[in-house]
Amino acid sequence: MVSKTKLTQKNETLSTGAPSRRKFLKGTAAASGGLAGILAAGIAPATAQTRELKMLTNSHFVPASDVELERQLAEFGKAAGVKTRLDRVAHLQLPAVLAGEVQGQKGHDLVSVGNSNPHLYSKHLESVDDLYEKIGKAGGGWTDGTVGKGSDGHHKAIPWFFISFPLALRTDLIASINEDIPDTWDDVHRVGTKLKAKGHPLGIQIAHSVDSNMILRGIMWSYGAKLVDEDSKTVAVNSKESVEAFKFIAALYNDAMTDEVLAWDDRNNNVCLNSGKCSMILNPISAYRSAIKAGTKDKAGNLVHHSIQHVMPPTGPAGRHMAASFNNMGVWKFAKEKELAKEFMAFHFAKDNAEKHLTASKGYNQPVLAGNALHPLYASNSKYYFAPFIGWYTHAIGWPGVPTAAVQTVVDQYLLPDAVATVAVGKASAEDAVKKLESQMKRIYRRAAKREG
């Protein structure tokens, strides 16, 4: 039981501890006046101000690339007197995270936007035309002018780097049939056919994979076919060039490849080349790099990477063309630190920093800036001799137009690999497959045109 004395004491304590009415009014008036001042000014008091530049990108498969990027951010932050933060997500999660930020209109300042994202998020990305011009001028020009363009014709992102698709081949296997390194798609067909007979097929994905989308586009372009016109709006796939390209790929599949390519993902061709089964693949330098890392040996005990060589993608009747995944750097319109983000881009794309980033990525991050492509790393190893030049033959997925949201849908739905696959396995004629692809693409482009008004 609580005694009466204790209760009285407690009440006294409470009454002395609580502020009086006068005290309370004085305090709240001061507080509300201060808050109103801060709100009116729109900035926090100097003591509470902490500016932070936040960047979002996908985890690079060469972790050192992200380490260097983080280092540059920190260096920039130190010089600018701001905090910096680099957030990374798995590359398959990046589209969902970007979509979430756009939907919520908040998130990072700087974002890594791939392929058609600058077009897709045109309304939500800052125009960076001035910076694009400035960086391009200092860096010797851009190897592809379509990359980073928005739907309004302005540059919405700075082309950062691309991952190219040279022809990676086993020189030992090609030498074993007394053939030279292929330079044309017909050479690839001839050499591949001979090597398949010896158990060493060519490996090009005709499947639901990124590589497949890129390589098949490259072959189409090399045969003079195009999926869309230069206006990026008119579907132009139904042509005799497309039919020829489809027929050629089907012949390549039946004569030089095995049916496993119908199920391959982006990893399988690397494994196939390094294991000694495949003679040729079209792939970034990852197969070679992983052969070095793993110390992979062939049956005779020789290190496999010694006999892997990269050469330019083969040329076709309409020239040498290949597609690639392009990464761009953009600034959200709703970013808190827009100017700071642009300043960082200028800092990062300066030759010295861009070269450091490329070196850290072990050569994967191929610059879209022509001047930066002539990097000492590519001159240091004959396996990389293709690298400084491949940019001129590499285009973004919407080529000859810009990479739009509609073309991204065509890519994400794997319409081209599926159309080619039906011809390769004999389920449809090249003409029918091209017609079907045209009708599928047209419905996507119709819908996109309607949405964009």
Binding site: P95, A96, A99, V102, Q103, L120, Y121, K123, H124, A207, H208, S209, D259, E260, V261, L262, A263, W264, D265, N268, V271, C272, S275, K277, A405, Q408, T409, D412, Q413, Y414, P417, D418, A421, T422, K427, K436, Q440, R443, R447, R451
Partner: protein, 321 residues
């Protein structure tokens, strides 16, 4: 002992305030009951009703990431049904996938449960072991199957080629994930492997709940094993079977991980299901409206299945044994 005077509670309780009395008049004397329901109702509305209504709204709008949405009626459904040939293929794939998966899970689950009921030695070990596929995270276990079914270096193909007696027959190699028929069979197989423990354990629980005296009586009457199964086990398991078929059908129709890891909907869209195609539209293509329309296409099918199975359960449990 303290005696409790027999007094009228209403006379002792404080008179209700004006708001409380108004509510009592409106809702009846069980106003407190509604109060107790409130937390659950809030949870249900915020976590189930709201997301569902949002999905319904998306499906009848032109929602696109970062754009304001407006009402378009059934336009999205008409588009996917009349213009999108991949979606038509997806409907067929999904029904095929769900039908064979659930059928095999029922038959094999029932068989395994009957077997496990009879196993006396190492009973705990076997009952624990069957749960393994269910316990492992789907994405992880599917990665294992991805290597087993690998197009170039499939473990199964290696065994068929190198291990006697399989090598004797010269079977394979099979392109498990590259041939449309085999790819569908493979994803169905992995789904069965993944889902069967749920059936086994639930059916086993149902089997153990069947009173032994029914079997004793049947035995005295000279019933065969088959007759006992047909006339006792199966009828008494029907409510359990109906519930797990219902759950499994819902989960199987919404399967995503297995497809995404193994085939990504390929080859030639032969394994695209509603969930993977909805993901392609909604997340990759930013067409939230079409993604929602694809996903909600399931809804009427599920409602029919749920009503049918729940009616069956009610009929089976409405009479005394």
């Amino acid at each position: 002992m303290v005696s409790v005077p027999n007094v009228d509670r209403a006379a002792v309780a404080p008179p209700p305030g004006p708001f409380r009395s108004r509510m009592k008049k409106r809702l009846g004397p069980d106003i407190d009951g509604y109060g107790f329901l409130l937390p659950a109702t809030i949870v249900m509305v915020s976590l189930v009703v709201y997301p569902f209504c949002l999905a319904v709204w998306f499906s009848v709008s032109d929602a696109f990431v970062g754009e304001p949405a407006s009402y378009v009626g059934l336009e999205n459904f008409i588009y996917i049904l009349t213009e999108d040939d991949i979606f038509i293929e997806t409907i067929w794939n999904t029904l095929l996938f769900a039908f064979w998966s659930v059928l095999f899970k029922v038959v094999l689950g029932l068989s395994c449960a009957l077997l496990l009921q009879r196993i006396l030695k190492l009973r705990r070990f076997f009952r624990g072991s069957v749960l393994l596929p269910f316990v492992a995270p789907t994405a992880l276990s599917t990665l294992g199957w991805w290597l087993i079914l690998d197009p170039t270096y499939s473990h199964i193909n290696w065994i068929l080629a190198n291990v006697w007696p399989f090598s004797y027959f010269g079977w394979g190699p099979y392109n498990f994930l590259g041939n449309p028929t085999l790819a569908m069979a493979s994803v169905i197989f992995v789904n069965i492997w993944r889902g069967i423990p749920f059936f086994i354990i639930t059916i086993l629980a149902g089997l153990m709940a069947i009173p032994d005296h029914l079997y004793d009586a049947a035995e005295i009457d000279g019933a065969s094993t088959w007759r006992k199964f047909y006339s006792i086990t199966l009828p008494l398991l029907r409510p359990v079977l109906a519930i797990i078929i219902l759950f499994s059908t819902i989960f199987t129709l919404g399967e995503f991980n297995i497809i995404y890891v193994l085939t990504r909907g390929g080859p030639m869209n032969s394994t695209h299901l509603f969930s993977t195609y909805s993901f392609t539209y909604g997340i990759l293509n930013h067409e939230i409206a079409l993604g929602a329309a694809v996903a909600l296409f399931l809804f009427p099918i599920l409602v029919v299945i749920v009503v049918f199975l729940l009616r069956m359960v009610r009929r089976d449990t409405s009479h005394e044994l």
